[in-house]
Point group: C2
Chain length 233, copies 2
DNA sequence: AGTATTTCTTAACTTAAGTGAACGAGTTCT
DNA sequence: AGAACTCGTTCACTTAAGTTAAGAAATACT
């Protein structure tokens, strides 16, 4: 178990929740930061995303901003630990987070969430201790909301409930397709597929984490990659 | 491709949708049929299930019943074909349905839905042609609803929207846990796990369908099973 | 800058899944 | 009843992933 805590001085939950409260407030510090690829602020990115589902009034947008849910999170930060109870959901505006289990002293990474992807850990839904860890693998900007907060705002604006329903249904459909694809293909096919569909992941994620994501050992992924290279030549 | 159509005289979509329209109406024919294990009617089973999420008034219950969505479906019926467009969702009151792909002339079964489980195929969400087949592997009683119908009733009773949201979120959480478990375990562990969690499936489902559900070939499942038997003795 | 740690690769060996084929038992069809 | 087909099992062989270990390359730490 030791190694989990050794690779870097882990900032714990308290670290990232207090961080936006420094000097400037969360909005000016985080929400106004511009994305590298274009000039949109984090707020713009969020509202553009939401606009695909429902159209918000200025009042509703302000309600969201006033929740103070924009957070800047450093690479390596653990957002959720195994055994912990939580009510927090995450939405990635910039960066990347991963979920992983620790089984037989080994980390098994099962999912990555990048720009415009949302994660509500199962433990939040079931209100039981978490079975896995969530951590940040790049300096990221996240929306962190808790279910009480959501219940309150959804009570005021039923529109949000509707949006959540549509998103949950879409995500469920996507998750099932991904699962089906995983079941019906070999490790090598899965890797080739990832190259097609999420080439960015292969660049930004360490290979030993990718390996468990593909359901194999790091050595096998390394071998598999060199096998593919041979075929090409 | 031939074999798909040869194992039995397939009843097509038209078959099952017209079936309840015979002699008696759908409600008396199907909804009043009692479950083997107890004396509850299909309607009772449905409303007990719904009661876990929201409480319905008599008016709302009547609205559901008057939709005429209870259907009796014969074993072997194909509910959805690859390439087909559809707006239909299924909820199993009794029996079992499966989803499968046809890849290289082989059926790959990826999921089973049994009593009190719901399936909205991804193609219904994305409004694109279906990538897989859905078929009935036992004589079953299903709720078959289409998205227009749902939109209409959800407009009248926002309560249903709320229920769907909760269900979708729960199902998403469950799907992710199942996927994670699949990724982090070997075929043998998956089989042992299935024995624990859904022993009924192993009884009621043919092994070659179980095999692809476990991500392996039928021969491997057979071998794996005898390996387990040896260990026990 | 130098050391320690982590990450990736390679290799030899073991184990298990994929493949192709054959067989018997049970179904379904005619 | 006989033919055709499905289904599960077994076997021999191939292929690929798991395991263990070692070393090189990259990264982080002081």
């Amino acid at each position: 178990m030791k190694f989990i805590f050794t690779h870097k001085p882990l900032s714990w939950l308290t670290d990232y929740t207090t961080q936006p409260a420094t000097a400037q407030n969360a909005e000016t510090l985080v929400a106004s930061v511009t994305n590298d690829s274009n000039n949109k602020t984090m707020k713009d990115l969020l509202f553009d995303f939401i606009a695909k589902y429902v159209s918000l009034t200025e009042e509703e947008k302000n309600a969201i901003v006033s929740l103070d849910i924009f957070h800047s999170v450093k690479k390596g930060t653990t957002l959720l630990k195994e055994g912990q109870q939580s009510k927090e959901s995450y939405f990635v505006l910039k960066g990347c987070i991963r979920t992983y289990y620790v089984i037989d002293e080994e980390e098994k990474t099962t999912a990555f969430y990048t720009e415009m992807e949302a994660l509500t850990p199962p433990c939040v839904i079931s209100q039981t201790p978490s079975e896995y860890y969530v951590s940040c693998i790049e300096d990221s900007i996240l929306l962190v909301s808790n279910s009480d907060m959501e219940a309150e705002i959804n009570g005021k604006f039923p529109k949000f409930d509707k949006m959540c329903k549509i998103m949950a249904e879409e995500l469920l459909a996507k998750e099932r397709m991904d699962f089906d694809e995983f079941k019906t293909s070999s490790p090598e096919q899965r890797y080739q597929n990832l190259l097609q569909k999420r080439p960015d992941l292969i660049q930004r994620v360490p290979q030993h984490q990718l390996a468990s994501y593909l359901g194999i050992k790091p050595q096998s992924l390394s071998r598999l990659r060199s096998r593919i290279l041979e075929k090409k030549s």
